[in-house]
């Protein structure tokens, strides 16, 4: 546990440059800028099999290799620190406690693609973390790790820390770029992908905080050392943010492929007294929910997907028998309705409608046929929306109905002979 990015995470004052350096910090940058050519670095990341830790799990090295070698427009590295997925709080701890590890990752990424300008787009609510990052960046710049002519290699890199204004959608990479450029945060049409035409029209890589934090280790220890952890297709470790009524909730870095049961029962110490496991969402709020039959699934990208859910951002949300699944799903849907950017029709109208239907079921005003209506709305939303937010809104609803249909039906049966739907709508 805690083998790579969380290694020594609780070292006192690790966020100070001197302490970080004393723990072997910035060795990777020194090594890379001196000895490793950008192409070789991309090759190393490719060999390591590192996959994006933000949710989609796209191979990082592959993403970097899409950036054209020669470009008329400047290239950019953008760090997605807009960690807004409900149930996920890994990047927060990484940035809070070990900001230099991220800065090192950024410098390496910039070196790999030949970028001289980088941005950290940090969630607006993380004001104190933005300050920590700013302090770290100033310290690094004072020591010549950022700015002009890093380590005398002739390589320049500017870093801008930009605070978002509180929109979940800005965690979507192209919406993030729009927001960074000063527009409404709304996803862009793809293709062109950001790696070809991103920020200000220049080739841009957008990586998650955790993803970039892995890069110094890969450079220092080599791809093989990284591959020692995890599975063949999902190598390395991953931070799981466990929340809910378990004895020891929190962030745990574990090799990919660790079974869910081990995470919940051994590492988190099992359920709190009086609680019985009812449901688990394995990868942040945007993925299908599981019931307790799925405890033995190994937590890696492939195995989770094979069992009908997604590893996502690794936010493991545990729900006990004291939780109403209808209420929990309504809560999630309300979140997506609030956070839908409004660009595309299905997401804008669909989340609103689903919230209304779930709301009336929850209030005991559900009607026969409402579950079919909800499933139908999900299928009209899923795969039809502009970006993944639509899918994210639909998947929890669908899976929750399929897994816990009895509870929904019971709610609707209670409502039979109840009030008319018109009054259900107007609160």
């Amino acid at each position: 546990m805690n083998d790579i990015v969380f290694k020594g995470i609780d070292t006192p004052n690790l966020r100070q440059l001197a302490v970080y350096e004393a723990n072997g910090g910035y060795a990777a940058v020194r090594k890379a800028l001196k000895d490793i050519k950008p192409d070789e670095l991309i090759e190393m990341v490719k060999q390591s099999g590192l996959r994006g830790r933000g949710g989609a799990g796209f191979p990082t090295g592959m993403k970097w290799s899409f950036v054209p070698k020669v470009s008329a427009e400047p290239k950019y590295v953008v760090v997605n620190a807009d960690e807004s997925e409900p149930g996920t709080f890994k990047d927060r701890e990484l940035m809070e406690k070990n900001p230099h590890q991220l800065l090192e990752g950024i410098i390496l990424a910039a070196w790999a693609i030949g970028s001289h300008k980088s941005f950290i787009y940090i969630r607006g609510e993380f004001a104190h973390i933005a300050k920590i990052l700013e302090a770290a960046a100033l310290e690094a710049e004072a020591r010549g790790y950022l700015g002009k002519n890093i380590f005398g290699s002739g390589f320049d890199l500017d870093l801008v820390i930009h605070r978002g204004a509180g929109a979940y959608i800005c965690g979507e990479e192209t919406a993030l770029l729009d927001s960074l450029e000063g527009f409404r945060g709304q996803p862009r049409l793809k293709p062109p992908f950001p790696a070809v035409k991103g920020l200000y029209g220049g080739p841009t890589i957008v990586n998650n905080v955790e993803t970039l934090s892995f890069v110094p280790f890969i450079v220092n220890e080599g791809p093989a050392a990284f591959r020692k952890f995890g599975t063949e297709k999902s190598p390395g470790t991953k931070i799981f943010s466990v929340s809910g009524p378990v004895k020891k909730p929190g962030n745990y870095e574990l090799p990919l492929g660790t079974p869910l049961r081990k995470l919940l029962e051994e590492i988190c110490g099992g359920m709190l007294g009086g609680h019985e496991l009812l449901a688990v969402i394995p990868g942040g709020s945007s993925v299908p929910v599981w019931n307790k039959d799925y405890l033995d699934v190994p937590l890696d990208f492939e195995s989770v997907a094979a069992k009908g859910s997604l590893l996502g951002s690794g936010g493991v949300i545990v729900m006990s028998s004291k939780t109403s699944m209808v209420a929990a799903t309504l809560n999630l849907t309300r979140f997506y309705r609030h956070e839908s950017c409004g660009k595309c029709t299905p997401c804008r109208e669909g989340t609103y409608w689903m919230e209304k239907v779930l709301g009336r079921i929850h209030r005991g005003l559900g009607m026969p046929g409402d579950l079919e209506l909800l499933l139908d709305l999900c299928s009209t939303l899923e795969g039809r929306s502009f970006c993944a937010l639509g899918d994210a809104a639909a998947m929890p609803v669908r899976s929750s109905i399929l897994m816990f249909r009895d509870e929904y039906e019971a709610r609707i049966r209670e409502a039979a002979g109840g009030k008319t739907p018109e009054t259900a709508g107007s609160r």
């Binding site: 409004g342 409608w353 795969g383 039809r384 709508g425």
Partner: protein, 837 residues
């Protein structure tokens, strides 16, 4: 240009081959397959937001959006498969979640995309039973009404306003389900009021205030015709209900403008059915004009022409360039053949009209359609505020600047809209057009190789000193160099020039310099004339020195200035004013007044009472473009059909019929059975106009001068530098505002709402210097006299240069400006300050 790669794909089992990069919606259209769209628009970049165009792409597993999907080799698409239909049906149900069912009272009802698509894909009833959201209906100024309840947030209006018009007046507010359209500051729209947001709105969220509840689409009689204001020649539909024209609307994807119209085109439909129109012929009796019979009025005119001929006095004619080709052709035949006089012209505003040979040189350049701007490498716009005067060209250029950063050079005395966004600007001093043109020509010639005209031009320009050019124009050598480099940075090039260049005191030299620029840089040369049929008037030979088809006249006649001068000295027997009002448009108003007073007989043909028609001996009511059939030729030399959309007012008559009756009265054996017979004759006598009457309209090709080759390098004379503005004055220029055109639009109520009367536009710093505030009533004193005008800050003015639009009877620019130059130093004093609450 390299040929685009062609790819073949299958849609609904039929194969289609299209250039790489073609959007699937367009490819489907080639096959006649209609895919519904809301947010997608042919002038805008794909957005992919509304999702109504979802179709199935094989091997994808989920539907794709046809508006952003491009054709790919071997790809197979289904628009009518179960997956596609189900997806679209779902989207349709979502779209209707919050859309009110108020089609019966919605102005869009009957021509609404959402309504149509709902018929095709809707499920008839909604499963959404909760309350719909609701907003109040708001007026966004005098033109646009916003009903957010109906909005489907396709953002077409926002994008059109921003990307094409360059106004950014609209925006989307809030997010998610609360997303709604609003103006930038929540107040009224601050824009060109073009109303294109209304046009592009696929639902009835944006509707037109002037047209509000006037008619339903099905009780309009709609006629496709051509706008009569500027020379862009936009096609539109005039809608008539019960004898009144109630709206003009661009026809979707049709005409040179496709669905674009500017403010004056869209709201300039009122004057043809205005109650102020002249209804009857009038004859001067006892000092005033009295209603008369046609036969008496024409008889008087015929006798006057006979009298002039027997007295050996000249018969002269001035024509409006808004008349149709047929009118103009018969007018010149009447004057030349029947009255045996070479004295006619249509150019009233130009101080130095271009001589015939120069006009022929311009005609030798191949025509360039507006649509070519989309593929143009770079462009120079010289002496023309395209966005105010030629809006179709203006917005087409602006679109390319926005979407692909097309290198554009703009040379103008004011910092006009396009210059603000152009890669390079040449803001020369007012009146120094020629110096600026010479400077740019020198830079352009220096860039080119030794062959051909470039060498000649370089030799000519070598002697010009940069100091003189710089001090003359107020520009630097570096600015000229940058402009030249910008123009050379694109592959194919075009040079546009317009009214400021044509009205300059040194217009012929300026045009020679522009011809040289085009020759040196290999660019197309496009004159943007003033009026809807200026090009036709040239082609029809309503000129003192050119016959129809650019044949040199055997004995050149008098031009406008000469006609008026001779008339003032008593040499003119008959002066025919065919829709022309020299009092309003000729730079020297006093001379024009004298000319009309001293002419033995003045025959006026006009739509309204004008200063000139009231001085005439006989005044005849002319039909407007909306009541006439015929043809007009736009700046891209496309001959387009005018079709009558309204019933003729009173006893008004078409121009060509009046000329025919005059000619027969004078003993000619003219006899045109109908318009087609006349067009037949024009086709036979003017080889340029082979297309006339057959395949006219947007589909017709532009004519080309047969056997013409590009002219050789032209010698460019030296101009004199304008003096600096006198202390305590403001240098002011005149021209057309985007809200009006000429003198006709003052009869349109909507246009008067947009610009109510004489107005002086000036920059904020000039206003501060002269202690003027927005809305003040000011007295303007210039070399020509005094007028009163309201002060407006901004608009088409520039720092140090004011702008006085010339549209209002009683306050014409020639009452203020002197005859010498198209600008003047104006003394401004406040008459009454605006009341600010």
């Amino acid at each position: 240009m390299t040929e685009p790669k062609m790819v073949t794909c299958t849609i609904d089992g039929r194969t289609v081959t299209a250039p790489e990069g073609t959007l699937l919606t367009d490819a489907a259209k080639m096959l006649g397959i209609q895919i519904p769209i809301f947010c997608s628009h042919h002038r805008l970049k794909p957005l992919g937001a509304c999702r109504i165009c979802l179709i199935e792409k094989e091997k994808t597993g989920k539907p794709v959006i046809a508006c952003a999907e491009m054709v790919a080799e071997g790809a197979v698409f289904h628009t009518q498969s179960e997956m596609a239909l189900k997806a679209r049906k779902g989207i349709m149900e979502y779209l209707l979640v919050n859309h009110p069912l108020d089609c019966p009272i919605c102005d869009e009802g009957g021509e609404c995309d959402l309504q149509d698509t709902s018929y095709e894909h809707g499920i008839g009833s909604s499963r959404f039973v909760e309350m719909k959201r609701s907003f109040d209906i708001v007026d966004l100024g005098p033109i646009v009404v916003l009903d957010r309840n109906r909005c489907i947030v396709c953002a077409r209006c926002v994008r059109y306003c921003n990307d094409i018009m360059g106004d950014s007046a609209l925006t989307i507010e809030e997010r998610g389900f609360h997303s709604q359209i609003n103006t930038r500051d929540g107040g009224e729209l601050e824009c060109q009021q073009c109303g294109n947001c209304i046009e592009v709105c696929p639902v009835g969220a944006l509707t037109s205030r002037p047209y509000r509840f006037k008619a339903r689409p099905w009780d309009l009689k709609q006629t496709e015709t051509v706008c009569n204001f500027c020379s862009n020649g936009c096609t539109f539909h005039l809608g008539r209900r019960e004898g009144t024209l109630v709206r003009a609307r661009a026809k979707k994807s049709h005409g040179v403008n496709r669905d674009f119209l500017c403010a004056r085109g869209r709201y300039g439909y009122e004057f043809p059915t205005s109650p102020e129109r002249l209804h009857f012929p009038r004859i001067r009796q006892g000092g005033s004009l009295q209603r008369a019979e046609w036969s008496d009025a024409l008889g008087q005119a015929v006798r006057a022409i006979q009298a002039a001929r027997s007295a050996g006095k000249a018969v002269t004619a001035l024509a409006s360039a808004r008349l149709s080709n047929e009118d103009l052709y018969l007018l010149q035949r009447l004057v030349r053949e029947v009255a045996a006089s070479p004295h006619l012209d249509h150019r009233l505003e130009q101080r130095a009209p271009l001589p015939g040979p120069l006009l022929k040189s311009l005609a030798a350049f191949p025509a360039l359609p507006v649509s070519a701007i989309a593929t143009l490498g770079s462009a120079l716009v010289f002496g023309e505020d395209v966005n105010e005067e030629q809006p179709l060209y203006g917005t087409s250029l602006l679109r390319e600047v926005h979407y692909r950063r097309m290198p554009v050079v703009v040379a103008h005395s004011r910092r006009v809209r396009l210059m603000q966004e152009a890669a390079s600007g040449l803001p020369y001093r007012p009146g120094s057009e020629l110096a600026a043109a010479r400077g740019l020509l020198k830079s352009l010639a220096a860039h080119q190789g030794a062959a051909g005209p470039a060498e000649e031009v370089r030799k000519m320009t070598a002697g010009w000193s940069w100091e003189a050019l710089a001090s003359g124009s107020g520009l630097t050598e570096a600015q000229f160099e940058k402009a030249a480099a910008t123009l050379y940075s694109g592959g194919s090039r075009a040079i546009y020039f317009g009214s400021q260049a044509l009205r300059a005191a040194e217009a012929p030299d300026l045009v020679r310099a522009l011809i040289d620029m085009a020759l040196v840089s290999g660019a197309s040369l496009v004159p943007l004339w003033d009026r809807s049929n200026s090009q036709g008037a040239l082609d029809m030979g309503v000129l003192p020195d050119l016959l129809p088809g650019y044949e040199a006249a055997p004995a050149p006649g008098w031009n406008t200035a000469e006609i008026l001068r001779r008339s003032a000295s008593g040499e003119v027997g008959v002066l025919i004013l065919a829709g022309a009002d020299p009092l309003a448009h000729f730079p020297d108003r006093k001379l024009a007044e004298n000319a009309l007073r001293k002419a033995d007989f003045v025959l006026s043909l006009d739509l309204f009472e004008t200063d000139a028609s009231e001085m005439a001996h006989v005044s005849l009511p002319l039909r407007s473009y909306a009541e006439s059939d015929g043809s007009v030729t736009n700046s891209e030399r496309r001959v387009q059909a005018l079709r009558s959309a309204a019933n003729p007012v009173g006893e008004s008559e078409a121009g060509w019929r009046i000329f025919e009756r005059l000619a027969t009265g004078l003993g000619s054996a003219w006899n045109y059975a109908d318009l087609l017979a006349l067009q037949e004759e024009i086709r036979a006598r003017v080889p340029l106009y082979k297309v006339l009457g057959r395949r006219m309209g947007p589909a017709a090709t532009s004519w080309a001068l047969p056997g013409a080759s590009l002219p050789g390098a032209q010698p460019v004379g030296e101009g004199k530098a304008p003096a600096a503005a006198a202390a305590g004055t403001l240098r002011v220029e005149s021209g057309n505002s985007i809200f009006h055109h000429g003198m006709l639009s003052q009869h349109n109520k909507v246009q008067l709402k947009l610009l109510p009367g004489p107005t002086l536009f000036l920059a904020a710093e000039d206003a501060a210097r002269l202690r003027l505030a927005e809305g003040d009533l000011a007295l303007l004193e210039g070399p020509g006299g005094k007028v009163e005008a309201r002060v407006k800050i901004g608009g088409p003015s520039g720092p140090g240069v004011g702008f006085y639009p010339d549209h209002f009877a009683g306050a014409e620019a020639n009452r203020l400006f002197g005859p010498e130059s198209p600008f003047a130093d104006i003394k401004i004093s406040t008459l009454s300050a605006a009341v600010h609450s």
